[in-house]
Subunit: 136 residues, 2 copies
């Protein structure tokens, strides 16, 4: 599998893959006679997992740290688990914050609908800590 195929399969650009290799996020692949990178299937799982870490808000430094641990093999299992546990906790609290915000958004959307309908809005909404109406 050449870099273009991998890019297509994992949804990253060729440039991004080379960038990831440069900073050490993905291991250096073998090369063919012509010097082209040749990947095997296993890289796909790794790239996908990296993508999940990224999608859940893990920055490049921590992903690098994790990638580095990974290259150390089984000896780093415990450290990796600890990283994942910390990250999981972070994701959990992100989830809570997001859920909360979803409610705020829903409330606000309902309020806007009412205002659009010309309904008189309870003036106390002015003092609702979760509301920013902005109708000046």
């Amino acid at each position: 599998m050449l870099i273009g195929d991998l890019a297509q399969k994992c949804g990253l650009s060729v440039d991004t893959l080379r960038y990831y290799e440069k900073i050490g996020l993905i291991p250096k692949p073998l090369r063919d006679r012509g010097g082209r990178r040749v990947y095997d299937q296993t890289i796909l799982r790794w790239v996908d997992f990296l993508d999940r870490l990224k999608a859940t808000g893990m920055g490049i430094k921590d992903r690098l740290r994790y990638a580095d641990l990974r290259t150390r093999g089984a000896a780093s299992l415990t450290e990796r688990r600890q990283m994942l546990e910390e990250h999981r906790d972070k994701v959990r609290s992100d989830l809570e914050r997001l859920t909360e915000m979803l409610d705020v958004l829903d409330d606000k959307i309902i309020l806007y609908r009412k205002m659009e309908a010309g309904e008189a809005v309870d003036p106390s909404f002015e003092n609702c800590a979760r509301t920013e109406h902005g109708a000046q």
Copy 2:
């Protein structure tokens, strides 16, 4: 309320507040005789709301767009509602993705624990699309 007080109350730095003003995210406040910015309480709700939009992944461009609409007053209610609805949908799908990822993390952490305990791991995990073990 001077800029330092506001900064403390809303948890942003003085520099960030001035930056937000510069790019148009927050309205230009009145000034006192000495040229210092003087904020009233209402700014707090707005800054908090902006912060929520940011915390839920709305970029600066969209926050700017929203801020701009806000300055137009009631005439922009519908557009603002539409923006919020779109954003809410995005947040909802983020939530789903995050929840899914949480499961992946939990699975992986459990797997790591087992591996740490020296348990033989079902070789089929190699082929589990959601798993990236990295134990080389």
